[in-house]
């Protein structure tokens, strides 16, 4: 009788021991699974971020290429109006005329914003219009109301015809041609 009781007690202790071991294993498996999930999340966030960055970089590169192409396009460039063909030279008179008809060109370049800002002489943020031309510092040629990427820019020579006592002459100033694409991310 005593022997049977002892064996039953031994079995009970063994069962409890086994239960605890199973519990420990479940805990361990849960912890390991959680760790794996975290690692997977971490790699997923990296690859997602990379993709987002690549998309942004591509759009930025596109607008960077476009900005230099734009400065030398017939709609903007000085061509031979200010002497021999000058690279990155923008005809101020031409773009003032272009600004009036910009509605026709709004989808022509596939970009959201085109802006020209005078660098030197610094004339502040005075927006250019027909009344204050050429004594202004900022000309927004295209300004679509959409979410945009950061501006890409290049330095340009902003040239116009001026008159002095000795006759007409070419006046070129330093400006930035800034272009921004629509943010589609």
């Amino acid at each position: 009788m005593y022997g049977m009781l002892k064996t039953k007690q031994k079995l009970k202790i063994k069962n409890k021991h086994g239960q605890l071991k199973i519990q420990q294993m479940i805990f361990m498996i849960l912890a390991v699974m959680f760790l794996f999930i975290l690692v997977a999340l971490f790699f997923l966030s990296i690859s997602l971020n990379k993709m987002k960055k690549e998309a942004t970089n591509l759009a930025e590169k596109n607008s960077m290429l476009l900005v230099s192409k734009l400065a030398n396009s017939p709609e903007f460039s000085c061509e031979n109006a200010f002497g021999s063909n000058k690279p990155n030279c923008i005809d101020f008179d031409k773009i003032m005329a272009l600004k009036k008809d910009i509605a026709k060109y709004s989808d022509f370049w596939g970009i959201a914003k085109i802006e020209i800002r005078k660098v030197y002489p610094n004339q502040g943020n005075v927006s250019c219009n027909t009344e204050n031309y050429p004594n202004c510092g900022d000309l927004k040629i295209l300004d679509k109301k959409v979410k945009v990427l950061p501006y890409s820019y290049t330095f340009v020579s902003l040239c116009r015809k001026e008159f002095s006592e000795t006759g007409p002459y070419n006046k070129c100033e330093l400006a930035r041609l800034m272009v921004s694409s629509q943010d589609r991310t």
């Binding site: 519990q23 420990q24 805990f27 999340l41 330095f155 002459y169």
Partner: protein
Amino acid sequence: MMNKKGQDEMVGFAIISIIIGVIILIVIGFMVNTTDKTNVQDYEIESFIQTSLQYTTECQDSFGFASITDLVISCNREEKCLNEKDSCEILNSTLSGLVENGWNVGEQSSVKGYEFDIKTGEQSTLNFKEGNQTANYKSAFQTFARNGEDYTITLSLYS
């Protein structure tokens, strides 16, 4: 007693792994979001020099108002403008104005200093610098030839 100790250890392990995982995620997220863009690109300096050379200065010559390119040549020949102004002085002040307005040079800016150098052949015609000259810099140059002389214009921006 020993089993309880083992359970506690398991819970501790799980908690530690969670904390470490969260910390790793935060650190990586921060690293990924940090932009690795360099502030000044080479093509920007090149386009700056190229367009600066076309800038119309206040120096009058027999053809009208001289550009920076014309002024570089005049300065090399030690010529004066028609309005009796010294061509080198105007060249120096105009180029300083162009660089300082174009790059926003200063301690708080990404451009800490600059050096502008104009060479005729191997000889330096004009050289001026401003701000801090650090080891980290970007540089570009433009060349042109006039009347048998080679001119090299170099701009270095220190960040």
